[in-house]
């Protein structure tokens, strides 16, 4: 709410930039990077609906991602149906799962809520690994490539615009959550539940609803990701690494802001790609060094810009505004 006009302009620039990329370059590595930035940004925005706007900080969103990924992959690989159908099923299942975990963990706060979501994702990971007859277990499922929109066999340019559409939907939804009646009430719930109750807000119902919406969007992202990458296995799609990634993009970019998750995604995806490319060629002993640098950068950001990049920019902006006002 504080990060308004400059944030909107930055977002417009970001999305417009993504939209013109295919006109400038058809390099598949470059297009792939942009697609992933948009997908991870959208998934992080989905996380932000629960974690940033409703204050329900989850570290188990891979659960919903995995449900979406498996639903789409199984639909096309096992049943030879459209992955869009799988996506719809995945969204419905995720809404049910979100309602379940939202309702069960309703009274838990902060780290306790986060822990319960981790447990939830771990349970799904075990189920997906052991239920070999249905999910093919830990071997995973290769997704067949069948060209066409209905089968989601697309080239890089089409994928880019699809990911951009998802990103715009997620961004728009967040803007709505900042401007609307329900958004204000959600902010009240996030800031102080007792006070929100006193003002007539049904806090439990609103929190569960936020988690359900967040879960649905995450499943959409998971389904599209599965079709884009072409392979699904439980160790990855239900991993805590993924859950952390969704949360981290938002935290680095700025929780509870519409631009934050996308900004975080740009920074982290680029940093990761750059570090991996730079250091992975070194001698075997050093091949993991990019993870150490990556970790160090994250620690520095959390130490010096705890409100994320948008928060930092906001502070600088205000200070300059104040200085100018003083000078005048």
């Amino acid at each position: 709410m504080r990060w308004l006009a400059p944030g909107r302009a930055a977002a417009a620039l970001l999305f417009a930039g993504a939209a013109v990329v295919p006109l400038l370059s058809r390099d598949s590595f470059f297009l792939d990077s942009v697609i992933l930035i948009l997908l991870w940004g959208s998934l992080s925005a989905a996380w932000n609906v629960a974690g940033g706007y409703a204050g329900q900080v989850s570290l188990g969103h891979a659960a919903f991602f995995g449900i979406g990924a498996y639903a789409a992959a199984l639909a096309s690989a096992r049943y030879e149906q459209s992955p869009w159908l799988g996506l719809a099923v995945g969204v419905l299942l995720s809404i049910v799962a979100g309602a379940l975990i939202g309702y069960l963990s309703n009274r838990l706060k902060g780290p306790y809520f986060a822990l319960s979501t981790i447990a939830f994702a771990e349970v799904l990971k075990i189920v997906a690994s052991r239920w070999r007859g249905f999910t093919a277990g830990s071997e995973g499922i290769p997704v067949p490539y069948r060209p066409g929109f209905w089968t989601l066999g697309l080239d890089h340019v089409a994928w880019l615009y699809l990911a951009l559409t998802l990103a715009l939907v997620c961004y728009g939804l967040q803007v709505y959550l900042e401007k609307s009646r329900v958004g204000y009430r959600l902010a009240g719930v996030r800031e102080d539940e007792d006070a929100a109750e006193a003002l007539g807000i049904a806090t439990r119902r609103l929190k569960v609803a936020a988690v359900m919406l967040s879960a649905a969007l995450t499943a959409v992202g998971g389904s599209l990701w599965a079709q884009y990458v072409g392979f699904v296995d439980p160790a990855h799609v239900f991993s805590i690494d993924l859950s952390i990634r969704f949360a981290l993009n938002s935290i680095i970019g700025g929780m509870g802001t519409a631009l934050g998750p996308f900004l975080g995604s740009v920074l982290i995806t680029m940093l990761e790609t750059y570090l991996r490319a730079t250091f992975s060629g070194m001698k075997a002993g050093f091949s993991g060094i990019y993870l150490i640098i990556y970790g160090t950068v994250l620690i520095l950001v959390v130490r010096f810009a705890p409100e994320g990049v948008t928060g930092l920019a906001d502070r600088v902006w205000r200070r300059r505004g104040a200085a100018r006002a003083e000078a005048a």
């Binding site: 401007k179 009646r181 204000y184 102080d192 006070a195 006193a198 003002l199 007539g200 807000i201």
Partner: protein
Amino acid sequence: MLTLEGVSKHFGGLTAVREVSLQVRAGDLLGIIGPNGAGKTTLFNVIAGYYRPEAGRVVLEGRNVTGLPPHAISRLGLTRTFQIVKPFGNLSVLENVMIGALSPLPSTRQARAEAERVIAVCGLGLHAHARARALPLALRKRLEVARALATHPRLLLLDEVMAGLNPTELVGMVDLVRRLHADGLTIIVIEHIMAAMMRLAQRIVVLHHGEKIAEGTPQEIASDRRVVDAYLGEDFSLAEA
């Protein structure tokens, strides 16, 4: 308007409120006093739905609201403030009050206009865009009142909105409560500060160890032997002086 019938609330072996009955009529300005731990805030928590009483009933405008969640009771027209203020710290004063106003009002535009009006009534006009967390205590207490007021309550429960204020701020708050009452709002006030309460309330209920030990006009309370013995004692002679 509000009736309590034999309300009791225990925490384990401790009885915080014991068989309290009282009546609030429309237009009342009722004060509840009592020493620390007398059960005043517990009683508010029972009335507003934060605690479910072990015995007794809470009846609001003829409707039994015992056991309803706080948000449902708030929607029925009873809104409380908190002794330990609970501002939405990262939001502005205006946004805080807007969230209150969004309960009766459907659109953010209407809520913003209403919030601006309430903020002015509560003397927070200069601070509308300040972050709630950055306000000094006196203004955060006012914000509690403003936010509650924005929900358009018919009955307002004020939990120690005067505690911790300096004499000037205290006069301002007494004045605000009086004006709200004069505008027709029914109010229950919990307070520690005797002098303020004596000047403010029409009727006073005295709680001691969770029990109602006296009820009457400020004059009756001040001259009630049991009250003076049990509670007022030194405090009150100071307030009189």
